[in-house]
């Protein structure tokens, strides 16, 4: 798609355009955020609990750290964790989903399919947030463990989405053609079925990144995710909650606003892609295919 075509599409779908802009800014700030901040996000400025001003757009917190700098630098932790985690569960989910959906014409395939689906059932029987919290709790709070936990709880979503798409795609005539030509199952799956089953998976990946950001911030809010002094939104919101009841609202409220906009941006992008690719989407109403119940 050329740049001009892209612009035409975005002009016709404002929601998608908003999503693209927010996601692009998020990615940019995840890459360069910590380098362009006006103040050191881990060091006090000496002026404690300043209300938002031109110098400190989001004010300063109880230890005198510039909140705006923490929020801008926080893109790195929250957005990177979410994207890496979703990439991992996407990779795992696509492989397992393909195995669980593709008709391999082998006596063993049925049993494999059954096992994979029952395992997914088991994982999805546990509440998402608690499972993630328990995983991080057992392995200890670190960036790597948060990524693994988030990847693990989201994997069944991609597994089911891929399986659903593969089940539909493999009924296409070109798949029959590939089989009749004597192509091995593996090759048929990899070259013909999977590439044509990716659209719903990728549209959903964007939405899931948004919820992974929410999950990361939620875990860190509880102290079970990224630990201070690393700049991270959930931890920043938690640190400001003590000041909220005495009137210093900006430390919690403004980072939360940025967090909401980012989650919304990824959701808008995902929904927009879904609208373009499958106007009548039957999976939209199935809660098992969504990140959390939301």
């Amino acid at each position: 798609m050329s740049l001009r075509e892209l612009l035409t599409v975005l002009r016709g779908d404002r929601a998608l355009a908003a999503g693209v802009v927010i996601v692009a800014i998020s990615l940019l700030l995840a890459a360069i955020g910590p380098w362009i901040v006006p103040f050191d996000p881990e060091r006090a400025t000496g002026e404690v609990l300043l209300a938002p001003s031109l110098e400190h757009p989001f004010g300063t917190d109880a230890s005198g750290i510039d909140v705006f700098s923490r929020v801008v630098a926080g893109f790195r932790a929250d957005v990177t964790i979410a994207i890496v985690a979703v990439a991992l569960s996407l990779a795992g989910g696509v492989v397992l989903g393909a195995l669980a959906g593709f008709d391999f014409r082998s006596p063993w395939a049925g049993r494999g399919r059954w096992t994979i689906l029952r395992l997914a059932d088991m994982v999805q029987a546990l509440p998402v947030f608690i499972l993630a919290l328990a995983l991080v709790g057992m392995t200890g709070p670190s960036v790597r463990n948060v990524i693994v936990a988030i990847a693990f709880v989201n994997l069944p979503i991609f597994l089911r989405l891929t399986r659903g798409a593969v089940l539909v795609t493999q009924r296409e005539a070109y798949v029959d053609a590939a089989r009749v030509m004597g192509l091995p199952s593996r090759v048929t799956l990899r070259r013909h079925v999977l590439p044509n089953s990716m659209e719903p998976v990728i549209a959903n990946a964007s939405i899931t990144v948004g919820f992974a950001v929410l999950l990361t911030a939620g875990l860190s809010f509880l102290g079970a995710g990224v630990r201070p002094p690393t700049p991270e939104w959930g931890a920043t919101i938690a640190s400001g909650s003590r000041n909220l009841v005495t009137g210093e609202w900006w430390i919690s409220v403004l980072p939360g606003l940025v967090l909401s906009v980012v989650v919304l941006g990824f959701a808008l992008l995902g929904e927009g892609l879904r609208r373009r690719w499958s106007p009548a989407d039957r999976t939209a109403g199935d809660p098992r295919l969504q990140a959390g119940p939301r």
Binding site: D121, V128, M138, G218, V245, V263, P287
Partner: protein, 349 residues
């Protein structure tokens, strides 16, 4: 829904729906076993030595050896699984070192508070969502419809802990209309703890002053959950009832000259299975998902217990909570599947 239940449903086809319901209830046992199994596996995959972790702060070799023996951790994996199962069936979830009590006792004291919070919030959210969905279905192109779909989309993206904090700032700090976000009841009131949920305990004690104080404490956490979780319920219900508007039975009703109200009701009725599903999913999610809101308001329920367990590496408590949450959501999914028979005539056929 399990494949077995589905199969049973298709095969019987009898007017009696008892058969498939019984089959579905039977799968509950399997689901609970699944939850138990995955907790067992996770603990063994992620902890090098569960006995050491379960021993908590008492890391003496004797304590670890005692736990190793009690859990049968010196045996083979199947043996370990078996002894884990038998102690579970005896109601032994281990002791929480953070409170010094058996985990089961701790949970019995805390789960009701969480259940009350999420049940009230979900009931309010359900009513609002259904009414708004009906209003939108009646006038799918109105101003209200636009506002409502915008809200439905945005609400799902909001962090509930952040909404809770914002509400505390506005209604406690600025307006002063609610008590401080610290627990379920002002410590000035002493009410005998029966269930652990202050509102109910105050009612049981017949202490009306304490009851209204407990209600005031509950207002903001409930409002937080309602604000955030009405969104996705509303969005999915709205989508389903709108798609009902385009279906043949609605067009037929229009051709017959039925009143608009009646047609709206038929379209909304078409959304009931979706509505029930998303309610169930949200309910199952909330027992654990409300931990953040519980933390903001120091609610003292099961969720906060789990958080404390994570922070203090209290694995017996954590394991117990994950089990209870898993069993709870299995029960909720069972209820959802059974409700299908009530709201969806096709499921009965």
């Amino acid at each position: 829904m399990s494949a077995a239940a589905e199969g049973a449903r298709k095969r019987t086809g009898a007017p009696s729906w008892l058969g498939p319901v019984a089959a579905r209830a039977g799968t509950l046992v399997l689901q609970v076993l699944g939850v138990v199994t995955i907790v067992f596996v996770l603990v063994r995959v992620f902890l090098d030595n569960p006995a050491r972790a379960l021993a908590g702060q008492n890391q003496s070799p004797e304590a670890i050896a005692a736990i190793t023996e009690r859990l049968g951790l010196d045996g083979s994996l199947p043996q370990q699984f078996w002894s884990y199962l038998t102690s579970l069936f005896q109601g032994d979830l281990g002791d929480a070192f953070s409170t010094g009590n058996p985990v089961l006792t701790d949970l019995r004291e805390r789960v009701p508070a969480t259940l009350l919070l999420i049940t009230v919030a979900l009931a309010i959210a359900a009513v609002i969502a259904l009414l708004l969905a009906a209003a939108v279905t009646a006038r799918p192109r109105g101003l209200l419809a636009r506002g409502v779909s915008g809200y439905g989309f945005v609400a799902g993206a909001l962090p509930d802990f952040w909404i809770g904090l914002a509400l505390v700032f506005v209604f406690y700090f600025q307006l002063g209309v609610v008590p401080a976000p610290a627990g379920q009841l002002d410590p000035a009131y002493s009410v005998e703890i029966v269930t652990g949920a202050a509102v109910i305990d105050a009612l049981i004690a017949g202490n009306m002053a304490a009851f209204s104080d407990a209600l005031a404490h509950m207002a903001l956490p409930v409002a937080t959950l309602v604000l955030v979780y009405t969104g996705p319920i509303l969005r999915l219900t709205m989508t389903a009832s709108r798609s009902g508007l385009g279906m043949d039975f609605v067009r037929f009703g229009r051709a017959l000259g039925l009143r608009q109200r009646r047609i709206t009701w038929y379209a909304v009725r078409n959304a009931l299975p979706t509505f029930v599903t998303i309610l169930g999913t949200t309910y199952g999610f909330l027992l654990g998902g409300a931990v953040l809101v519980e933390t903001v308001f120091s609610w003292g329920g099961a969720g906060q217990y789990a958080v404390a367990a994570v922070q203090q590496s209290d694995f017996a408590a954590l394991q117990g909570f994950v089990l209870v949450a898993g069993i709870f959501s299995a029960l909720v999914y069972l209820a959802v599947d059974l409700l299908y028979y009530v709201v969806d005539p096709r499921a009965r056929a």
